[in-house]
Structure formats: C-alpha cells, structure tokens
Subunit: 191 residues, 2 copies
Amino acid sequence: MAHISIIGTGNMGQAISSVVTRGGNTVELLGRTDIDKPITGDIVVLAVPYPAVDQVLAQRGGQLEGKIVVDITNPVNFETFDSLTVPADSSAAAEIAGKLPGSRVLKAFNTTFAGTLAAGTVGPLATTVLVAGDDADAKASLVDVITAAGLKAIDAGALKRAREMEALGFLQISLAAKEKVSWTGGFGVVA
Amino acid sequence: MAHISIIGTGNMGQAISSVVTRGGNTVELLGRTDIDKPITGDIVVLAVPYPAVDQVLAQRGGQLEGKIVVDITNPVNFETFDSLTVPADSSAAAEIAGKLPGSRVLKAFNTTFAGTLAAGTVGPLATTVLVAGDDADAKASLVDVITAAGLKAIDAGALKRAREMEALGFLQISLAAKEKVSWTGGFGVVA
C-alpha cells in the first residue's frame, strides 16, 4: 500500500486525495496551517498553484529529500491567459526538479481537471492521467496509485515532456475559460 | 460552397480531402507533379511535412496572396522524437505566417491523426478539429467546411496558440510512436 502526502487542500488536492483513497491507498492532506506537521508520504503531491511552490519548497524542501515529488501545476499567466510564466524552453516541472536535486520529480495530473479526476470519467472515456519523469520506478509507483482507483495512466516519457504537457494543460484551461469545453470535459485519451 | 486546394497527397492530404467532400464542398488535390497547375481554391491547405513547406512557398508563394492558408504541420524532429525543430518561443504556423504576409494563415488539423479525420470519430467521440488564427472570418470559413462534414471544430484562439497545438500534436505523435495510443486514437475533445 502506498502512503501519499498532498500539500494543498484546493480543488485539485481534494480530487487527487479522492483518487488515492478510491484505490485503497492512504493519504494525508496538508493545508497552509499544517506547516509543523511532518511529511509522512513516500509520494508527495505539490497541489498548490505554481506561484506558491517556492514557498512550499522553502518550508518543506529538506523533507522532500529522497521522496517522489509530483508537480501538477499549469504555470499559466492568469492575468492575460495568453502565455505561461516559465521560460519557453523550460517547464514548471523542470524548474522544480532543478530546485530538488535529491527528489525524484514527476509531472502528472496537470492535463486533467479536478472534476474529471473526481468523476473518473471525461464524457464517455475513463479519465487518463499522463505521467512524465526520468525515474521509471517513481513513475510506476504513481501509475499504480492512479490505476488502483480505476483511472487510466499513460507513461508520457521523460520529464522533458512536461513542457508539452503544460502546453496541453494551458490550452485546455484557455478553452474552458472561453467556455469552448466545460470544466468537467476537456481532452480525453483514446488508447 | 467552398472550394479548397490541398497541396500534398499523403495520408493527411487525402484525409482532409475526404472531410471537404463529405461536407459537400469541392477540392483539388495537388501533388508534387502538379507544379504548373494554378491554385484555384480560396482556402489552401499545406498538407506537406514541415521541412517541405519552404519549397512549396518558393514555388507557390505568390499564388497564396489573399488566400486563407492552413498549416497542418507538426515540426517534430523525427530523428530523435525528443523535440520540435522550431524555436521554443515560436511555432511552425508563426514561421509560415511570417513568410506569407499577404495570406491569412490558420493552424488546424495537426492535433487529429489522418485516421480520425477519415473516420470522423476518435473512439466514442466525434473528431474535433482545433482551429487557431488571427482572422475571425478565415477561421469561420474553415470551421464551416469542417462542421459540414459532421466533425466538430473549436476556435482555439489566436495564431499564437499554434505553439500549444503543436506541443499537443508532438505529444500525441510521441505516444503513438511508443504505442501508448493507436494512430486511430489519441486526444479526443469532450465539450
């Protein structure tokens, strides 16, 4: 059984928490007031907006050493909705991995809205979580947690692919913001 | 009724041709040996691989003046499958638009495999074509052609969004190349 720590109690943190428990794994959900609580999970999900990640790393960085750290962010410029806030040749995941050399960083959950994680479906399709990262064992551990919940997971390749996943996440958010797709829809995967 | 010229007779050119005629519109499909045939369509689809676009523009550039030009390319580095060949802060569509100041350039069809255009479905979903561009009338003309065929179309925003569409196209191709999705599947859109 896997034990997962989720930092952030917003829509995404709650949805991912529901995925974890649905699969029979255990979760601790850590909010802003839980700074003194130690991180007990082997997998740690950073379920905070990208601009809040640095603060989490400042508070918790040492505790993330040796752990699998999951970046779920879409670093969208939410003022303009017209660009990402990370360099064009980088990604939020790459930036975070650079700050956590002792952790195995994965990108996941950024291409699925909270509603489709909670429901387990995107329209007629099972919700599919894309997982990218450079450590095969770390990816396999997260994939197990996802598939145990009845969702599908696809290994999207190396952490470098986070750049394309964040572009997809940005595009999906921009379509939802313009009501071209709903927040319970978006991109589904047909294997 | 719209008249569409498609330059390129490969899988994508043929699939887009079938979409056009299914909707009751007319098409001319121009191959490599048709250099001397004039372009008669009001909408011109560049259905050639990205490295072949420059040659088409050299041969046909003047004839594209005043027309709607549709870029469908995914400028993937097919040797490494690990990056795109355009600058990180640009896109194939932006590069092409820069070379065709007298044309209205759209990005479309790069996020749908030939098989899903021909079938009209991605698994249980109707195939959805994303269309980006800076000219609303041009986008509406292409959307009409697509929806007349029974496919769905979504206005994905300004031509700047081609960057994210190409990232999505690249990710989808990389998943198909690794047999994570089939060439008749991939990303479907749930509105």
